[in-house]
Subunit: 72 residues, 2 copies
DNA sequence: AACATACTTATCATATATGATAAGTGCCGG
DNA sequence: CCGGCACTTATCATATATGATAAGTATGTT
C-alpha cells in the first residue's frame, strides 16, 4: 500500500482525464479547485480522500473505482 | 458526492467483510487498528483516505475499487 | 524575443482523518 | 442473571489533506 499505490492512482486519474481530452485547468474548473491541486493529485503527492476521488470521477464521468485499477 | 456516498462505501466494505466471515475485531486486528475505527468506517462516518481503503482491501482480499460499486 | 498554454513545485492556514481510549448497546449460552 | 462476544458511540491529540497563492518549467506560436 506504499506510495507506489498513490502514484498509480494518480496515473490512472491522468489517463482517464486525457482519454477525454480534458486539460488539468478544465478539470480544476469543473471540480472548483485551483490548478495546482489537480497536478498534485495526479502526481500521487497526496493521500486523497473518498470525497476528492468522487469529485474528480464525477467531473470526468467515470466511477471512482476505476482509479484503483492495477493498484495492489 | 454527499454523505450518501460515504454510507454506501461503508456498506460495501461491510458486505465484502461479511462475505468472508470476518468480524470487525478480526479486521481491526489485520489492519492494526482498534475496533471502533472499523465500526466508524463501515458506518460511513469518515471520509476515508486512499491508504485507509487500501489497507482494508488488502486485509479482506479485494481490490479497493469494489468499494465504489454503485456509488455516484 | 515576447507571449500563451499546460503543467509543476513550494508553501501556507484551516479543516478533518487517523488512531487511541472509555463507555455504551444488544444478544446469546450457561 | 451473568459473562462474553460483536459492535456502536463519544471524544481526544496528532498528523495530514484540502484549498489557496506565488513562482517556476517546458513547449510552441507569432
Amino acid at each position: 500500500m506504499s506510495d507506489e499505490a498513490l502514484k498509480k492512482i494518480g496515473e490512472n486519474i491522468r489517463k482517464e482525464r486525457e482519454k477525454r481530452k480534458i486539460t488539468q485547468t478544465e478539470l480544476a474548473d469543473r471540480v472548483g479547485w485551483d490548478l495546482p491541486n489537480v497536478s498534485r493529485l495526479e502526481a500521487g503527492k497526496t493521500n486523497a480522500t473518498v470525497k476528492t476521488l468522487l469529485k474528480v470521477a464525477g467531473a470526468i464521468g467515470v466511477n471512482a473505482g476505476v482509479f484503483f485499477k492495477g493498484v495492489k
